[in-house]
Symmetry: none
Subunit: 144 residues, 2 copies
């Protein structure tokens, strides 16, 4: 009845993995596979339940990228406001690019100040074509 949270191996392993991948988003499967390969089996039920808690605490962000059926999670650095980090998704090769760029926070401030809308860049994904794929398309003369 006290609602005290216990410290366990599983939780620490999950949180460590999230922290070590703070620059990337990871899926439940990513976590499960990684831990498995490191001789630290954790049931997916546990992963889901712990991520739920971390989500409530704001320790982690959840978002979904188009075409991906499963949810993505990312550790949120308490000191850092993640306004400077955003995502580009290449629609050709599917690569997800993580970009640190001050221009984006300027844009966010502008949208908020002048348009009253408060963007959540952790949830927002820019769709387009990455440099590698656009180069390929040029070389092919526009054919697929």
């Amino acid at each position: 009845m006290n609602n005290i949270e216990y410290k366990t191996k599983q939780k620490q392993a999950i949180l460590n993995f999230l922290k070590n991948n703070r620059d990337n988003h990871v899926t439940v499967n990513d976590i499960s596979v990684y831990l498995e390969n490191n001789n630290c089996h954790v049931g997916i039920t546990t992963i889901y339940r712990y991520l739920d808690k971390l989500l409530e605490q704001g320790t982690v962000r959840k978002y979904t990228v188009d075409n991906s059926t499963s949810a993505c999670f990312q550790y949120v650095d308490p000191s850092k406001t993640c306004h400077e980090h955003f995502h580009l998704k290449c629609e050709v090769c599917g690569k997800l690019i993580h970009l640190h760029c001050s221009h984006i926070s300027e844009l966010c401030s502008h949208i908020f100040n002048d348009h009253g809308f408060k963007p959540d860049m952790m949830r927002t994904v820019f769709y387009g074509i990455c440099s590698v794929c656009s180069q390929k398309q040029e070389n092919n003369g526009g054919n697929l």
Copy 2:
């Protein structure tokens, strides 16, 4: 082999529902339930397949909104299908905001010139909270 698209009752019923709800996003289940209640049964397979087509045609947009496990779709007015438009989606009320703003095209140029990524703003949606909903949240002192 001609790839001609046929007109059917089912498609018309789905498209009508989408048009009548152009101010909201709807799920496959919403569509299915509504049609069922209107004595117009359409299998979910058909709904999924038709939405896929509409998506390719750009007649409809697909979203994933937090807290919802299933995908959301929203009719896009053909007259508003303009490359100068950017889209903001409020995650609280679901409203889709069309925005004209030179700052975003500047950002796109910057992303392309300095990062080599060519954003497709027709496909990109900014998620966040609109002014009305953020005001409401403030008035509630942060409670839901």
